[in-house]
Amino acid sequence: MVTPATTSMTMPGRQAWTGRAGSFLRYVRRNPLLAVGGIIFLALVLFSTAGSLFVDTVKAPYPLAAPASLAPSWDYPFGTDAQGRDMLAVMIVGTRLSLKIGLLAGSIGLAVGIVLGLISAFYGGWIDSAIRWIVDVMFTIPSFLVMVVIASLLQQYISIENMAFILAAFAWPGPTRGIRAQVLSLRERQFIQMARLSGMRGPEIIIRELLPNLAPFLLAGFVGALIGAVYGALGLELLGLGSQREPTLGMTFFWMQKYSALLRNLWWWWGIPIAIIILLILSLYFISFALDEWANPRSRRSA
């Protein structure tokens, strides 16, 4: 079988993008994991976006919106928590906020990674060494602890955006390292040499030749950064370091822990957020697993 990497290698310019998309679709069809992960993820996105049409997002996900500690019923399909939040609204808004934090932090991390990775690979020399050293340093620091220090000092001032920025500050070393390695190997391939000989300029080569071929890595890197950010946000919020007002998934977990939902036997209060957290992380994990194989044909033998 011809791998996508070799077919698109000879395709110049715009065709490379469509070739990529085609190979991707073919890959989805052969890979059930990606399809399952994608469907769960899209269902969650739909739940958190379309769902807000059915609930009052201004009042319902906040305390005193409903009678406290009600089991699921027709009026409150997911029940209510001990502070009188409507759990259905909490989950709709919370999933959206947690996704927003992840997407924001993941995109910033990936964007910084692309820029630093490209600079590092193209210019080489002392710039490359400096970037590599910084990335190595960032890799060795257990970033979670530093984030705990930052978040605890900002506590009352943390908003959804601040949370995303704190996570983004530690989300770029992975993409930087990955993209640098990829660009270094792509740079020496023949189609790039051809492009250079045919008189294309640096930026043109990057946009028309390099980025289409990097697409699988960028996508895989993005999902990786997204998982890292969602996971990091959950962890910080679990320690009570999220926005105290906003009903994100992690904060819901924190409140139900703090008010011992387990011992009071309010199963819907902890069961539903945990189910959604598991679905979210599992779907992202499946997608990233499949994307890694797509981006890295060598590991496909294990599929």
Partner: protein, 334 residues
């Protein structure tokens, strides 16, 4: 191994420590919160005293913590403290030093964390090796989705589900803590049993989470190794399958697995902290949690630096031992 490489690695370690110390030093300066004032105000409102002496008290504390010095002097002082492994006094448990507070919590975390990471590594690696071996029985393959599941579900969620099932429903294990409140801490068999009883569920959560990832990674490495020519050759020579499996396949696949273990130390610390919080375990996780509640940033700072240092040393040690295990790896050409 070349001296150049060793020097480079030690320089990197120093740079990591310096970066972490610098971030830790400047972040509190940028924060709008003042932990000492917050604590004094809390004490004043709880005690109901009048607040006239507050500023003087805050000044006295600031003087004691060296906060009235110019910034560059404070910074140099902070770096010196890091080199001396001295993180000063805890703000929340005042007369005690950060080192003694951490010293009480560290053994719990080390036991819980190290034991779980070792169990997860051994079991996960064996499982992964069997999963990646073409001749292992078919029913084993059913474990691939299972390990994907447990490695994807966060350790704190696993921990919570374990608490629900085994502590709350079945009442087979205690809900929280490291030992019973009625227990008599000491070197006795009954106390040890009590401690094990309490450690079982948190350790289980960490092992399940870590093990799945280890198994999947080892399986990938095995699949790569099994495809190599020397395995085919060993088979063709008529060596016994057990020997080919252990000596030729597992031994070679094991090496990257060790690096993977060290790379995962950061996430492991993260999981341990959260699981300890969930189980109200008296280790570093519980300590971080209580330090956050009262904004004891001296304590947070000390914990961060000690864990950063531990991860650095572990990484360095594995990188130095690696070429001894694997002669293919040489650090000379760089």
């Amino acid at each position: 191994m070349s001296w150049r490489y060793l020097v480079r690695r030690i320089l990197l370690l120093l740079l990591v420590m310096w970066t972490a110390a610098t971030i830790n030093f400047f972040i509190p300066k940028l924060s709008p919160r003042d932990p000492i004032k917050e604590r004094l105000q809390l004490a004043a409102t709880q005690g109901g005293r009048n607040q006239t002496g507050l500023q003087a008290m805050a000044d006295a504390y600031a003087h004691q913590y060296g906060l009235d010095q110019p910034l560059w002097k404070q910074y140099l002082h902070a770096l010196l403290k890091v080199v001396q492994f001295d993180y000063g006094y805890s703000i929340s448990q005042y007369p005690r030093t950060v080192n003694s507070v951490i010293g009480d919590a560290l053994p719990w975390t080390i036991c819980l964390g190290l034991v779980s990471i070792l169990i997860a590594f051994v079991v996960g690696t064996v499982l992964g090796a069997l999963l990646g071996w073409p001749r292992s029985p078919g029913w084993l393959r059913a474990l691939v989705p299972v390990s994907m599941l447990t490695s994807a579900v966060p350790a704190f969620v696993l921990g919570f589900l374990l608490i629900y099932l085994f502590a709350f429903r079945l009442k087979a294990f205690p809900l929280a803590g490291a030992y019973s409140q009625t227990a008599n801490p000491g070197w006795s068999l009954s106390f040890a049993g009590d401690v094990l009883d309490h450690a079982f569920l948190p350790a289980m959560a960490l092992v399940l989470f870590q093990m799945g990832g280890q198994a999947l990674q080892m399986r990938g490495l095995m699949v790569m190794t099994v495809g190599e020519d020397y395995i085919t050759f060993a088979d063709a020579k008529g060596l016994r399958p057990r020997r080919v499996f252990l000596r030729y396949a597992v031994r070679n696949a094991l090496l990257p697995q060790v690096t993977g273990l060290v790379m995962s130390l950061g996430t492991f610390i993260f999981s341990t902290v959260l699981v300890e919080t969930l189980f109200a375990y008296p280790g570093l996780g519980g300590l971080i949690n209580s330090a956050i509640q009262v904004l004891d940033f001296n304590l947070l700072y000390g914990i961060t630096m000690i864990l950063v240092f531990a991860v650095c040393i572990a990484t360095l040690a594995v990188d130095l031992i690696y070429p001894l295990l694997d002669p293919r790896i040489r650090y000379d050409r760089r």
